[in-house]
Subunit: 198 residues, 2 copies
């Protein structure tokens, strides 16, 4: 495995091969955490729809995203069932809370930050599921990860498009750069337990 991995647009720093090794060393926990990630992603999309119920474009795009995340959640849960792994709660890594803490409290900044943080999380998921699809030693599971990659890419694209629909492009780009730095910093130290966003 090479030390440098392909960089995804939006992300400040690419994932290290140390994460890949940690993940491949405990695929069962990665699948379980992945299930939680898909459910959380559906929840985040739904919460944004609740907060901005009259923003037509946002509501339309996020309905589609929430539906897709729920379908993935179901698919990951089928993988867990097939492997005999019971559903259970996992302590989350500091990633999600660390990003959420960056959301400014007043509108319209709150909306911009919410959209961009979701874009970054989806971009990171796209990158990491891609790495699992490339390096996972179980061919069927690797195929599953590669199959999910396209949606994750569409999702981060959709969040980006929404951000640029409701805000000036220069403002979006400046804020995205700042948040992307934080996102990379949150991943700079590998979490002791294997997680999608460790």
């Amino acid at each position: 495995m090479t030390a440098t991995l392909p960089t995804i647009k939006l992300l400040e720093t690419p994932t290290t091969s140390a994460w890949v090794e940690q993940a491949l060393g405990d695929l069962d926990t990665i699948l379980l955490d992945h299930s939680h990630c898909e459910r959380k992603a559906a929840g985040v999309a739904l919460n944004l729809m609740f907060r901005y119920p009259s923003s037509e474009k946002l509501v339309r795009a996020l309905t589609a995203i929430a539906q897709e995340e729920l379908t993935h959640f179901e698919q990951v849960n089928q993988w867990l069932e097939r492997r005999g792994i019971p559903l259970r709660a996992l302590t989350p890594p500091p990633y999600g809370a660390g990003l959420k803490a960056q959301i400014r409290r007043h509108e319209p900044e709150r909306m911009l930050d919410g959209l961009l943080i979701s874009a970054l999380i989806e971009a990171r998921s796209h990158e990491r599921l891609g790495l699992l699809g490339q390096h996972c030693p179980e061919p069927e599971l690797a195929r599953f990860y590669r199959g999910l990659m396209a949606s994750e890419a569409r999702h981060y694209g959709a969040y980006w498009v929404l951000a640029t629909h409701y805000f000036e492009r220069s403002e979006v780009e400046a804020r995205l750069s700042a948040l992307a730095l934080v996102e990379s910093e949150l991943l700079a130290t590998l979490h002791p337990e294997p997680r999608i966003h460790s």
Copy 2:
């Protein structure tokens, strides 16, 4: 229109014809409120999945419900678009908050109450969409409402099945009777504005 309307199992009191008249008098607002109801129903299912992430049967059933509610949300929004009604927030009637206030704070009672309140809301939606399907003067819209009824019936059935899976049947029945009384009391006075649960 007759004063007595068919009673749905679970519900303590059937909907009055006064509600039907109020709803038919402002179908645009009813559609807009219905959109909010579908989104909220998806949110409630997702929140229960968040609270009980290791309850396999619950997670599986509520994933399917959340997906269906999102599909209905999308369909209702298409109706709004076709009629040129922009999405906007509506002040909710006291129904949802009134029911939520009945949820006991400790487990496992909290889970039972959450499931039964969802069952009651779905049963009431089933009854009322059925009334709209029967009395709506626009044939295509009436057909749409009748089409949704089957899912609402499946949903209240699913919540009931989950309640009896995790709790003793006698406990479920006693609690359901108590909550059904509150549900009917909350609807005893017609809300001044047309709402699905006014």
